[in-house]
């Protein structure tokens, strides 16, 4: 038994290159896994199994004749359902876009197609990426592959769960305040949010434009480097995309952390941090010390201000970005209405869920005349201070090591009653988005309940190579990325 669905991208590539398996065998294995696990995990909004299998068999002949074009060639993958795909449903897990098929592709899809990737499905998410558990999805209830009573995290919970359960060798997600790293931590996979502007946002349905960034879910760190390498690069269609610059994430990946300065801040170990996670952090410090890295204590005074600033900025931008869903041109329009304003009100009232409405209202309020200075403007000032704080931090260390989340996964309904409690799920991830810097969440073992723990490594802008080098060294010592979620099908 080859157990292809549990293999990493790099392993699958090696097997194909050696002639030990074929593209269609791989896609078939993933399709079988989807058939077995999806009824419980519900990671996908749309699966494209038939289409993927056709593509894979077309690859068979080509690969046989010409060999593989690259590591991602003929490997299936999943996209979060907020990334536009021509003629394929792109719902953002919202009722209001439940019938929306864009007539264009997002840039990352084109990049992966160029590498020979095979799209196997579009994954579930919190509605419009607003949430930390996938519970705000209007379309699916994604469960945590490690225990179906627990949430997979969010908002990219579907992508995290798909990779954790072997239903996709890798997946892309988007991260506005932790939406890749938090579910990666909760599902026990590697999740990376790159520097803002490194990956094109073209075709990513906007939540908060100045914070949104596309990133990856993979089973291990090497895969993360491979997929990141494939999706980065300047895009003329995205004005906020940074000019072409080469970050070599692959060559030095396994060269170790000797002499690297890894920062630790007490600010991230405050009240509410789960004991087992603190222990994981201590273990990581030991591992890095043994590997020759230098551990330095750093101050991080702005943590308490990050979350409020984030919710003001993100909601303000969201209130504007989501105004276009008015039932006029696409998406769902209310059936009975009396005049224009009534059509707007009914379409939006029926089309959006509570969390989306809450943030639209919050954002609208924060931008209103008379409140702008007190909320939005002040939040932008905090943003500047956080950027400055990170600059100071990275003068004394190369990377900042923190927990990804304060707790491991939680049960359905546990945090839905109190939105603020849910918002706190992103406490450690949000500052990274505010500063636009890169960070990765890596698996750090399991807690007593058998739920995954994640640690976060964050570095200055364009330090993806350094981050991944440190992540690989940790993985190499601990092998936590070898752990696989138990299958639902016994």
């Amino acid at each position: 038994m080859k157990d292809l669905a549990n293999k990493t991208v790099t392993e699958l590539h090696a097997l194909m290159a050696a002639g030990d398996t074929t593209p269609s065998e791989i896609t078939k294995a993933v399709a079988v896994r989807i058939a077995e696990e999806e009824p419980v995990v519900e990671a996908y909004v749309t699966t494209l199994v038939d289409q993927a299998e056709e593509e894979a068999s077309a690859c068979d002949a080509r690969v046989k004749e010409h060999g593989l074009a690259g590591t991602l060639d003929a490997i299936p993958y999943a996209l979060k359902d907020n990334m536009c795909t021509d003629g394929i449903l792109t719902t953002c897990s919202s009722k209001i876009l439940s019938n929306f098929k864009p007539p264009y592709n997002c840039t990352v899809y084109n990049r992966l197609e160029d590498k020979g990737g095979i799209l196997i499905g579009k994954t579930n998410m919190d509605e419009f990426a607003m949430g930390s558990s996938c519970e705000t999805s209007a379309l699916r209830r994604t469960t945590n592959p490690w225990n179906p009573e627990y949430v997979p995290g969010g908002s990219s919970g579907g992508s995290a769960a798909a990779v954790a359960s072997g239903m996709a060798p890798y997946a892309l997600g988007s991260d506005t305040g932790g939406s890749i790293r938090q579910p990666a931590a909760l599902c026990g996979v590697v999740g990376m949010k790159p520097t803002y502007g490194l990956v094109s946002r073209y075709g990513l349905v906007a939540f908060a434009s100045s914070l949104d960034q596309i990133g990856t879910f993979t089973k291990d760190v090497e895969d993360c480097a491979v997929v990141m390498d494939a999706i980065v690069g300047h895009d003329a269609k995205d004005s906020t995309s940074v000019p072409e610059q080469h970050i070599d994430m692959l060559t030095g990946l396994k060269s170790g952390v000797k002499g690297m300065k890894i920062g630790i801040s007490q600010a991230f170990m405050g009240e509410g941090l789960q004991d087992e996670i603190r222990k994981s952090l201590d273990e990581a410090i030991r591992v890095y010390t043994e590997l020759g890295a230098e551990i330095v204590d750093v101050d991080f005074t702005m943590l308490d201000y990050a979350l409020p600033a984030y919710y003001l900025i993100a909601s303000a931008e969201a209130s504007s970005n989501l105004a276009r869903y008015d039932g006029v041109r696409y998406g769902v329009r209310a059936e009975d209405y009396d005049g224009l304003v009534d059509m707007y009100v009914k379409s939006r009232s029926e089309g959006f869920g509570d969390e989306v409405k809450r943030r639209i209202m919050l954002g609208t309020y924060a931008l209103s005349a008379g409140y702008y200075d007190a909320y939005y403007k002040k939040a932008m000032k905090v943003r500047t201070l956080i950027i400055q704080e990170y600059k100071k931090v990275y003068q004394s260390c190369d990377l900042l090591l923190t927990p990804t989340t304060a707790t491991t996964s939680f049960k359905f309904g546990e945090r839905t009653a109190n939105p603020l409690e849910m918002y706190l799920s992103d406490l450690y991830t949000v500052p990274v988005n505010i500063a636009g810097i890169p960070a990765v969440s890596i698996p750090a073992g399991l807690d007593a309940k058998g739920l995954p723990i994640g640690l976060q490594l964050a570095g200055p802008a364009f330090s993806e190579d350094t981050i991944l080098k440190a992540a690989w060294a940790y993985e190499d010592q601990t092998r936590y990325t070898d752990l696989r979620a138990p299958l639902q099908k016994k």
Binding site: A206, D238, T240, E317, S320, R324, L367
Partner: protein, 480 residues
């Protein structure tokens, strides 16, 4: 009590770029509905804007032409409101950091020169158009969505309708001259909003203002200002207060009326557009843009007076329209007769343009043809009078060279004195009465004889030559 009128204007002008502000859709006017549309200007989910660099350049050019300061750093903002002609539900515009600020425009009014301050010029996108079908609901045409605009905002420096018109025309001429906008009023590519208030004469405190939007002719602008200022004065005299509101100008009825405008309740919630990076223009880049500015009317007028020796008046008329001054300069490059060219462009050509329902931009023949026509007068081939008839023919058959017209119609002057002498001799013989009159001191009779000669030669006689011969022949008659 007497009142002062205080007028400020907001002018929207479409920029003459080929493509829209954030996508590559064409801006061309008059296409079928919704054919100039793509996911970007339709505001589809996930798409992103990319700022057309030409828009920045044109906006800066407009600013330089109106003596503004061009910002090294400006940014785009979102102006949020719901309307079906606005696909993103926000208009991308500029709020607190516009590209141009602090300009001045000097206008020539009947009361002398006046300065009008330009508060700011900012870049923004146009919205689409709603088409209300009788009973069939409302349709949206998005062709105009994302057509680039500049909005020019003035200080409240204008004080009467005539000045407002002169100022508006000057802005139109300047934008047209610089090539920043084609300013076709009938296509709505330049539109005027007027903010107007009145105050007791000499008072320093401004009154409450009203706004009239989208006045799309100079006549409408003048009439709207006249009506609205009168209305406000009458209201105040009745002891009523002016309500701050947007009023609709009905040009057919010649009245303004209160618009039931929801806009008053609008809070546009401006904030920086996160999908675009700030507009950064270095001093070098600004100078580079300045160097591409064509010569503006004032400078050109001075040059026409100094270099071509034209009277002030000619220089002013010729430079008022870019098309006219271009035609003049191309002609003068071919034949060094500036005053003659000016006369033809100012006196002879306009009535013919009017007759053929053409504008100054549409002179049907080339400057080379006009130069050739003037050359034919200069070398004595035709008289000025014949030239006028040739000009009329040039309007009918613009592809024909003036020389060809002259040849085909046999209009060349009779410069052969032998032939002319014979004709004149005959006329002098046939009109002894005239000779008698001249002998008796009535020189007017010369005119009659000249007329007869011209009639006999169908105007082709060279007038000077003919006059000389007539005098000789008459004298010979008297002497004999």
């Amino acid at each position: 009590m007497e009142y002062d009128i205080v007028i400020g204007m907001e002018i929207h002008a479409e920029l003459a770029t080929k493509s829209k502000i954030f996508c590559s859709c064409p801006t061309e006017f008059g296409a079928d509905e919704n054919t100039h549309a793509c996911p970007v200007c339709l505001g589809m989910p996930g798409v992103l804007p990319v700022l057309n660099e030409k828009v920045v350049e044109y906006a800066a050019m407009a600013g330089l032409a109106l003596n503004c300061k061009i910002a090294n750093f400006s940014k785009m903002d979102r102006k949020n409101y719901f309307y079906p002609d606005l696909p993103k539900a926000y208009q991308t515009s500029q709020f607190d950091l516009p590209i141009c600020t602090g300009g001045t425009v000097t206008i020539d009014t009947p009361d002398g020169k006046k300065d009008v301050g330009i508060t700011r010029i900012h870049i923004e996108e146009d919205a689409g158009k709603l088409i209300h079908e009788g009973g069939g609901g409302t349709l949206v045409d998005v062709n105009r969505c994302g057509v680039p605009l500049i909005e020019i905002v003035t200080e409240p420096d204008l004080t009467n309708a005539e000045d407002a018109r002169i100022f508006a025309e000057k802005i139109r001429d300047t934008l047209e001259y610089t090539g920043v906008s084609d300013c076709k009023m009938q296509e709505g590519s330049i539109r005027f909003d007027v903010n107007l208030s009145v105050k007791p004469k000499g008072s320093t405190e401004l009154g409450t203002r009203t706004e009239m939007k989208n006045l799309n002719s100079f006549r409408a602008l003048m009439r709207a200002v006249q009506y609205e200022s009168k209305r406000q004065i009458i209201e105040l005299k009745k002891g009523n207060r002016i309500i701050q509101e947007t009023r609709k100008w009905d040009d057919a009825k010649g009245v303004s009326s209160s618009m039931r405008s929801k806009e008053e309740a609008h809070d546009y919630r401006y904030f920086p557009e996160p999908d675009l990076v700030p507009i950064v223009l270095s001093d070098e880049r600004i100078e580079e843009i300045r160097s591409t500015l064509p010569e503006l009317p004032e400078a050109k007028r001075l040059r026409y007076v100094n270099d071509f020796g034209l009277p002030e008046y000619d220089a002013e008329v010729l430079t008022a329209k870019k098309a006219l001054s271009d035609f003049f300069e191309e002609s003068v490059a071919l034949i060094d007769e500036p005053k003659m060219i000016s006369n033809w462009l100012m006196v002879e050509i306009p009535p013919l343009l009017k007759e053929h329902e053409l504008t100054a931009e549409e002179i049907p023949f080339t400057p080379a043809s006009l130069a050739e026509l003037i050359g034919l007068i200069q070398d004595g081939t035709i008289s000025g009078k014949i030239a006028k008839s040739v000009l009329a023919d040039m309007f009918e058959a613009p592809e024909k060279a003036p020389k060809t017209i002259v040849d085909e119609k046999g209009l060349a002057q009779m410069n052969d004195s032998g032939e002319l002498e014979a004709i004149i001799e005959k006329i002098v013989d046939e009109n002894p009465k005239s000779v008698e009159d001249i002998a008796g001191g009535n020189k007017k009779a010369y005119g009659f004889l000249t007329g007869q000669v011209m009639k006999a030669t169908k105007g082709k006689a060279n007038p000077q030559e003919a006059n000389k011969i007539i005098r000789e022949k008459v004298q010979a008659k008297i002497d004999s």
